[in-house]
Subunit: 214 residues, 2 copies
């Protein structure tokens, strides 16, 4: 993730002095605030620069264009999310499968729900941008963490961890994303989450088949 940004989207220059780092932070902060407060539509470079307390020119020293700024913002967000999931997976090493699943759902759900406005603002990101690299890097990292976790389950062995992992991760993340998009009521969300926890857990008649195949 650290090095994967395509050339045309990577920062133009990295801050070397303290005041430069402060400048970049201020720009990020200003962007988030404006994004949350007024949406992508009203986000323009002039406003970002003004709120960050720098001139437009300064902004352009660090980000070659507006999209690179949004891209960097997302990069940061996914970085934190990936780290959270890696943590969760490590904590669950060797635990029973159902606890793993529950912890994973919990971690992802919480990450999305904690600051919904930010999540929403970034989801609603102008995705003209070539964000495939970002998504791929994120997916790779998450897959590694979850596969390792699943392989270590105390009460289950899988003939094809890769495939099982892919399903679990896609189902969980996809479902949460979609639930989020739907703006469910608290009650509905809770119920869905309860059912998802059952559903995503391959412990049931399906696992026996996998185990038999070993």
């Amino acid at each position: 993730m650290a090095t994967s940004a395509p050339d045309h989207l990577s920062p133009r220059r990295r801050p070397r002095q303290a005041r430069a780092a402060a400048t970049v932070d201020a720009i990020f902060e200003a962007t988030i605030q404006l994004l949350v407060a007024e949406g992508m539509q009203r986000l323009n470079t002039t406003r970002v620069a003004r709120r960050a307390g720098v001139s437009v020119g300064t902004m352009y020293q660090y980000f070659p264009h507006k999209q690179a700024l949004i891209y960097a913002l997302n990069e940061r967000y996914l970085e934190v999310l990936a780290a959270t999931i890696e943590d969760t997976c490590q904590t669950q090493e060797g635990a029973p499968l159902d606890l793993m699943i529950e912890a994973l759902i919990d971690a992802y759900w919480r990450a999305k729900t904690e600051r919904p406005e930010v999540t929403r603002a970034l989801y609603r990101w102008v995705v003209e941008i070539d964000n495939e690299a970002l998504i791929t890097a994120f997916a790779t990292r998450v897959d590694a963490a979850t596969t390792a976790m699943l392989a270590s389950a105390a009460d289950a062995r899988f003939a094809e961890v890769q495939a099982v992992n892919l399903t679990i991760v896609t189902v969980i993340f996809g479902t949460v994303h979609n639930a989020f998009e739907r703006n469910l009521s608290q009650g509905a969300a809770d119920e869905l989450r309860r059912q998802l926890t059952c559903c995503a857990d391959p412990t049931s008649e399906r696992r026996q088949a996998d185990e038999a195949a070993m």
Copy 2:
């Protein structure tokens, strides 16, 4: 869906004469082509108008602004998708549950995969737009169709169809969305789909609980 577009996004004028209808169609077609060929970034009103063979002014007679154009495009897309799902659900009336689930997954999956570039282009839609109305209308319509279908299952009765329905729909749509986003290989996609078909089917120990609750 037909009437739900918020004021600021609804068409400025509806075509009354034949040539006007042709104009609107040409504009839609041009927009899709440019979107698929060059992405949202390079989509500007001048280019759309030129490719559609009309002047910018004409475009603005039908769409109050660029976003309204994209909005209308999505409205069309969701209209077709919703109709497809309604069809599927009606066809499955009274069928066994596992066939229903399979048909639903199949319909949604196919719809997304048939013209991936278009799907992708619209997913990557500039979502600064207030598309909540669109999403809500779509969700309502789909929920009605799927709930009715599930309630008619030949081999299952649910104590709380609403809740079960919400889970099934969210899991399926979310998973497919996510799978799509990940750009899976054919093999991986097939395997995921197979497992999803099992996973989304509440026929298993979980159903008995529901039935007992009746």
